[in-house]
Assembly symmetry: C2
């Protein structure tokens, strides 16, 4: 079978056995924002055509490819959700030469009734279930970080934090960015930012402190970006990690390393899931579907 | 005497009696960012020259004109500070035809030891002391909102919140702005944002909710900017208004009206200070200096 994790900015494809063992990989910078409407079949064929010619006939897709800006909009499946429920909610996409099946995104409501959505992360979570076990807390860091709770082998609930995109906007669009050099990551300054997030003050007050520390020479221009990053990631972790314990991290290696440091500083313990979680998740959803 | 409140984006000048009664007003769009280095004396003479020719000989300045980017950098005076202490810390600026005296900014340290700074707001606070009384909580909303505590007729301490500048950056630099029309202010949506800030969740989570509410059609594109504004102002008030009570508001009328609504929704009571607080503050600092 073929699995494709198709996101906003890139696409990663896997050729796998039915059991989920990866035989070959391919990738392309053809995220959905780079693909013109109507061109999705051509992009897919360009990436996995050789595998189809070699006999594959089933393609499972996950990620933003199922959003309104993607190939076909797939409905959201509400939490709690397990591999069988997700496998029973696939959208079939007409495609010449293979069965193409699209994994739904998940939705949830927070305590105040505000909607939550994810697309792609549900498949990574399913792929990480073996490592997580029957219950656990999982963080998928990014522009919109997701924190999911696994209970009884299901994705029970999740919450999103706007940390990554807020960091980018504060860095590029405020006076804080004018005090930052393009310096390499400074682990000490990052740690100071995380500690600041833990002092009990509000983030809006802490943000002004980035400026005043720089103004008073207590934060160097090469440290300011790392400090701001630590401040935002620290606030996210402080809010999401309500009971100190293990956090399973799924995502890009460098970002997960930052989160692991910050989780440690917040009294938790980070456990890294490897980067093939999406591939394993697609295989597992397919298996659950076949069994049902 | 002449008083000038000279900020980042504009300048407001007052001709006053020694007792602080305003006789005439002038203003110019010549904020310090619009004035070239070395051109400050000319701009001042252009605005108040007629009053000097008519016999005035003393000019008191407050605001960002005393910052590193201004005319002359005045040192910060640490809190607590009263009119006499501020009056004893003026910087004299050489100027042909008048005594020009610059009011210092104030500094403070928050509970974690992080620096706090203000320039201009200290003069507005001094000008509002008669209305506030011996003790009270004062908010000066803006890009960097200041919350000051008055105790025994002194500016005892203050804290800054980055709300205004964060709003602008989130609106212009994130996906949230792409879901906003240039609609008129929507008081209902603003109130929903304030209520959201009071639900106990973290601001980084609430920011993603702006997107998800819009995505699910639970917030219209004409409501999103007002909701985001209420969310940020609500978070600021929730953090700063630790004990519900009266908040004295000093600032632009429209912004103060928003804060007054939000303070009410957060269980407090707003009391508006008129816009001439800076002029009265300059006169009062001058009186305190003359007495000492």
């Amino acid at each position: 079978m073929i699995g494709v994790d198709w996101g906003t900015s890139s696409l990663r494809a896997y050729r796998m056995t039915e059991a989920g063992q990866i035989i070959a990989r391919a990738s392309a910078p053809s995220g959905i924002l780079q693909v013109a409407a109507g061109d999705f079949p051509n992009v897919l064929r360009h990436v996995v055509g050789d595998w189809l010619a070699d006999g594959e006939s089933k393609i499972m897709l996950s990620g933003m490819v199922g959003s309104r800006q993607g190939w076909i909009e797939a409905p959201y499946l509400p939490c709690p959700a397990d591999p069988a429920a997700i496998g029973a909610a696939l959208t079939r996409i007409p495609f010449d030469g293979a069965d193409v099946l699209l994994v739904p995104g998940l939705s949830d409501r927070d305590e105040a009734g505000t909607p939550e959505v994810m697309r792609g992360e549900e498949t990574q979570l399913i792929g990480a279930l073996d490592q997580i076990g029957e219950s656990g807390l999982v963080c998928l860091p990014g522009s919109h970080s997701k924190w999911a709770r696994i209970e009884q082998g299901q994705i029970a609930s999740f919450r999103t934090y706007f940390s990554g995109e807020a960091f980018a906007a504060l860095r590029s669009g405020t006076i804080l960015g004018r005090m930052m050099d393009d310096a390499p990551h400074d682990a000490g300054a990052f740690g100071r930012g995380v500690a600041r997030a833990n002092d009990g003050g509000h983030m809006l007050h802490h943000l002004f402190g980035v400026r005043s520390l720089a103004l008073f020479g207590e934060l160097g221009s090469g440290q300011t970006a790392s400090y701001l990053s630590g401040l935002l990631i620290g606030h996210e972790i402080r809010a999401a990690l309500q009971i100190a314990g293990t956090v399973h991290l799924i995502g890009a290696t460098a970002l997960c390393a930052l989160y692991a440091q910050a989780i440690g500083l917040c009294g938790g313990h980070a456990s890294l899931v490897d980067e093939d979680a999406a591939a394993r998740g697609l295989a597992r959803i397919d298996q659950a579907r076949s069994v049902a």
